[in-house]
C-alpha cells in the first residue's frame, strides 16, 4: 500500500484508498483550442452483430496531446468501438474522420498505416524474442546490398534504446532480455514506447493496467501521461475509474452501446463518476 506514483510523493493529493491503490492526481487541464482538429473522430457510429446491438449513435473525439478515457461496464461496447477505430470491422452506420477527413478502414493494416496503434492487454510482446526484437518487430532495420538485405542488429538496438528513452523508460536490464522475463507493466510500457517511436498518431490502450500490481500500474500510467505530453492522442479503455481520473483529460462513459455521459476531467469527481456508472450500467 506504500507505492507512491511519484518519487517525490508530496505533490500527490491522495484520495481515500479504494480498490486501485494509485494516488488520485489533481491536475490542471490545459484547454484545447476549440478549433483544433481531432486526430480521430467517430460520428454517430452504430454497429450490430445479428440481433445484438453493440453501439448506437456513438460519437467521440480524440485530440493530439489529450487522453480520452473510455469507461463502461462489460458489454457497454468499449471493445466494439476500439475495433472499429482500429479497422477490425467497419461501422454499420456513421463515419470515422481522420484529421477531419472522412475515412474508411478496410482492414487493421490501413488503420495502422494512418498511425493508429492499438495495444491489447495480452498481445504486447512475443515472449521469446528479445526486447530489441520485440520493439522493432515488423519494422526491422535492414542493411545490405541490392536484394541482399539483413537485419541490422546494431541499429535495432539503437532504435530500441531510443524508443525506451523517449518515453523516459530506463531499461535496467539488457535489451537482449527475452519477453518472458519482463513484467506485465514493462510489457505495456514497451508497447507504448514502440507505438510512439514509430510515429503513431493515435494510441489506443485496451485495459493497460487491469492485470498489473499497483506500482506497475502507476508506472504505466506515467508513461501514458508521457506519451500525451509529447503530443500523442490517447484513448484509454479502462474499468478502473481511479486510473482514468488520474490521467485522463476527457472521459466518455459508455452504457449499453450508447454514450451515457461525457466530461472533462475537471467537471467530475470519483464519487460522482462511480455513482454515474453504477446508475447507467
Amino acid at each position: 500500500m506504500s507505492g507512491s506514483l511519484r518519487p517525490d510523493g508530496s505533490q500527490d493529493e491522495r484520495a481515500p484508498h479504494g480498490e486501485g491503490d494509485v494516488p488520485l492526481l489533481r491536475r490542471k487541464i490545459e484547454p484545447v483550442a476549440p478549433d483544433s482538429t481531432p486526430v480521430i473522430e467517430a460520428v454517430n457510429i452504430s454497429k450490430a452483430f445479428g440481433a445484438t446491438t453493440a453501439l448506437v449513435d456513438v460519437s467521440l473525439k480524440a485530440y493530439a496531446g489529450r487522453i480520452l478515457a473510455l469507461l463502461g461496464d462489460n458489454g457497454a461496447g468499449k471493445s466494439t468501438l476500439i475495433k472499429i477505430l482500429s479497422g477490425v470491422f467497419p461501422p454499420d452506420q456513421g463515419e470515422l474522420r481522420f484529421l477531419g477527413q472522412p475515412i474508411v478502414f478496410a482492414n487493421p493494416a490501413q488503420a495502422r498505416q494512418r498511425g493508429i496503434a492499438t495495444v491489447f492487454q495480452d498481445l504486447a510482446v512475443c515472449e521469446l524474442l528479445s526486447v530489441t526484437r520485440n520493439i522493432v518487430l515488423g519494422r526491422e532495420p535492414q542493411k545490405g546490398v541490392g536484394p541482399f538485405k539483413w537485419f541490422d542488429v546494431k541499429k535495432a538496438d539503437e532504435m530500441a534504446r531510443s524508443a525506451l528513452h523517449r518515453l523516459g523508460v530506463r531499461w535496467e536490464r539488457g535489451l537482449d532480455e527475452r519477453g518472458v522475463n519482463i513484467s506485465g507493466g514493462e510489457r505495456q510500457s514497451l508497447a507504448i514506447a514502440r507505438a510512439m517511436f514509430f510515429g503513431s498518431s493515435l494510441l489506443v490502450l485496451d485495459e493497460p493496467t487491469s492485470a498489473l500490481a499497483v506500482r506497475q500500474a502507476g508506472r504505466v500510467l506515467d508513461h501514458i501521461v508521457q506519451a500525451r505530453d509529447q503530443g500523442q492522442a490517447v484513448i484509454l479503455i479502462t474499468h478502473n475509474f481511479r486510473h482514468a481520473l488520474s490521467v485522463a483529460d476527457d472521459l466518455t462513459v459508455l452504457a449499453q452501446g450508447r454514450v451515457a455521459a461525457h466530461f472533462r476531467r475537471d467537471e467530475i469527481e470519483l464519487e460522482e463518476l462511480t455513482d454515474l456508472v453504477a446508475r447507467v450500467a
Binding site: 518519487p7 517525490d8 515472449e127 538496438d157 530506463r170 535496467e172
Partner: protein, 386 residues
C-alpha cells in the same frame, strides 16, 4: 536499489560468477542439449567399439546419413519455429525425386535443368500446403497429414510401385553426393551450406524475426504489421523445397527413385529438430541445433551397427534420446531462460545510454540522477502542484 546495481556493475565480477554466467549462457542456447547428446554418444560409441567407431570411415558414414536427413530437418526446423508442422515433407521428397528422374530419363533433360525443376516442384507442393493452412485456418498437422497421403498416393500411382532407374552424367553425381571432400560426400557440403544459410535467415534477417514472432504470438505479430500469412506460405515452400534438395541428392546417389522414397523422414526430421532444441510448440529454436541433432541421429544409426546391436535398438535408442532431449530442453532451458544474469553481468550499456541521452535532448536527465529505475520526466502533475 538501482544505485547498488550500478556499483556491482563496475566492480569486477568474481571468478565463480564468471564461470556461473558462462554456464548459464551456454545452457540458455537451444543447441546445448544436442551438443551434449552428440558428445556423449560419441564417447559411448567410441568406448563400445574403440577399433571401429572413432575412424574416418565411420565419420564419413554417419555424416552421409546426417546430411540428407539434416537438409530436410533444416526446413522442418524453420517451419516448426514458425509454429507449424509438415508431415508431407517425406512424400514431397519422393514426388520431387520422381520429377527429377522422369525429366532426365523420359525427356532427356540435363541434370542442370532437372534438379532445379525438382526443387521448384517441391516448392509448389509446399505452396499448396501453405495456401490450405492460411486459407482455411486448419491446423497444419491435419493439412499435411492429408497432403502426405495424397503425394504418396500419386507417387505410388506414377511409379506403379516399382523403382525407376536413370543414368546421369557422373559429374552431376559427384557434385551432389560424390566423395569429393577428402572422402566425405558432397552432400555434407550442401548440408553445411544450407545450415549456414538457414542460421543466417533465422537470426540475421527480418524474415527470421517474423518466423519467430509467428511461432510465439501470431496475433501480436499480425497487430504489428508482420505479413503472417505470407510468412507461413513461404515457410511451407521452403520446407518442401529443401525436401526436394535432399531428394535430388538421393537421386544422384542411388540413380533411382521408388514409391517409398522419403517415407518416415517427416517424423525423423521432427525428432532431429526436437533433439536440436527447437520447441515443439514453436517460436524458439536453432538451425545449428538441428545440424547437431542430425549428426546425433547419424551417429546412433551407424554406431549401433558397429557396436553389434540388434536392428531394433536403433528406434528404441532414438526414441529414448528424443524423449530425454525434450525433457532437458523444456525443463532446463525454460528455467534458465527465466533466470537473471548473475551479479556483475547487467548488460545494459551505460555508455550507450549516455550517448543517446546526449543525442536526444527531449529526454531529461534530471531524474536519472535520483537512481530511479523508471524515472519520469517532469510531467503535468508536478507542474500543476500548488
Amino acid at each position: 536499489m538501482a544505485q547498488g546495481s550500478t556499483e556491482s556493475a563496475k566492480a569486477a565480477p568474481s571468478r565463480k560468477a564468471v564461470y556461473g554466467e558462462m554456464a548459464r549462457r551456454v545452457l540458455l542456447r537451444p543447441e546445448a542439449t544436442a551438443l551434449a547428446a552428440a558428445l556423449a554418444l560419441f564417447i559411448i560409441f567410441s568406448i563400445l567399439s574403440p577399433q571401429l567407431f572413432p575412424t574416418k570411415l565411420t565419420y564419413i558414414s554417419f555424416m552421409s546419413v546426417a546430411a540428407e536427413l539434416g537438409i530436410v530437418s533444416i526446413g522442418v526446423t524453420l517451419l516448426m519455429i514458425g509454429g507449424h508442422f509438415d508431415l508431407s515433407v517425406g512424400a514431397a521428397l519422393g514426388l520431387s525425386s520422381y520429377v527429377a528422374v522422369v525429366l532426365m530419363r523420359d525427356y532427356a533433360a540435363p541434370p542442370i535443368l532437372a534438379a532445379p525443376a525438382a526443387v521448384i516442384a517441391g516448392a509448389a507442393l509446399g505452396a499448396i500446403n501453405g495456401a490450405l493452412v492460411v486459407r482455411f485456418r486448419i491446423h497444419s498437422f491435419v493439412v499435411t497429414l492429408g497432403t502426405m497421403l495424397i503425394w504418396r498416393g500419386v507417387l505410388i500411382a506414377l511409379t506403379g510401385g516399382f523403382p525407376m532407374t536413370v543414368t546421369m552424367p557422373s559429374g552431376f553425381k559427384d557434385i551432389m553426393s560424390g566423395p569429393l571432400l577428402s572422402g566425405f560426400r558432397m552432400s555434407m557440403f550442401w548440408f553445411f551450406l544450407i545450415g549456414a544459410a538457414g542460421t543466417f535467415l533465422l537470426t540475421r534477417t527480418r524474415f527470421g524475426n517474423w518466423i519467430q514472432a509467428r511461432g510465439q504470438n501470431e496475433q501480436a505479430a499480425r497487430n504489428l504489421g508482420v505479413p503472417v500469412d505470407r510468412v507461413t506460405i513461404i515457410l511451407f515452400m521452403l520446407t518442401s523445397a529443401l525436401g526436394a534438395v535432399a531428394g535430388v541428392i538421393q537421386v544422384a546417389r542411388f540413380s533411382s527413385v521408388d514409391a517409398l522414397r522419403g517415407e518416415g523422414m517427416e517424423l525423423q526430421a521432427v525428432a532431429v529438430t526436437v533433439i536440436g532444441g527447437t520447441l515443439l510448440s514453436g517460436g524458439y529454436g536453432s538451425v545449428i541445433g538441428t545440424i547437431l541433432g542430425a549428426v546425433t541421429f547419424g551417429m546412433i544409426q551407424v554406431g549401433l551397427v558397429l557396436a553389434g546391436a540388434p536392428g531394433h535398438f536403433f528406434r528404441t535408442l532414438t526414441g529414448v534420446i528424443v524423449v530425454g532431449a525434450v525433457i532437458l530442453n523444456t525443463a532446463v532451458a525454460r528455467r534458465m531462460a527465466r533466470s537473471k544474469p548473475l551479479a556483475g553481468f547487467r548488460r545494459s550499456s551505460e555508455a550507450a545510454d549516455a550517448a543517446i541521452l546526449a543525442a536526444d535532448p527531449g529526454v531529461s536527465r534530471g531524474k536519472d540522477a535520483e537512481g530511479q529505475a523508471w524515472p519520469m520526466r517532469a510531467n503535468s502533475a508536478k507542474e500543476s502542484a500548488p
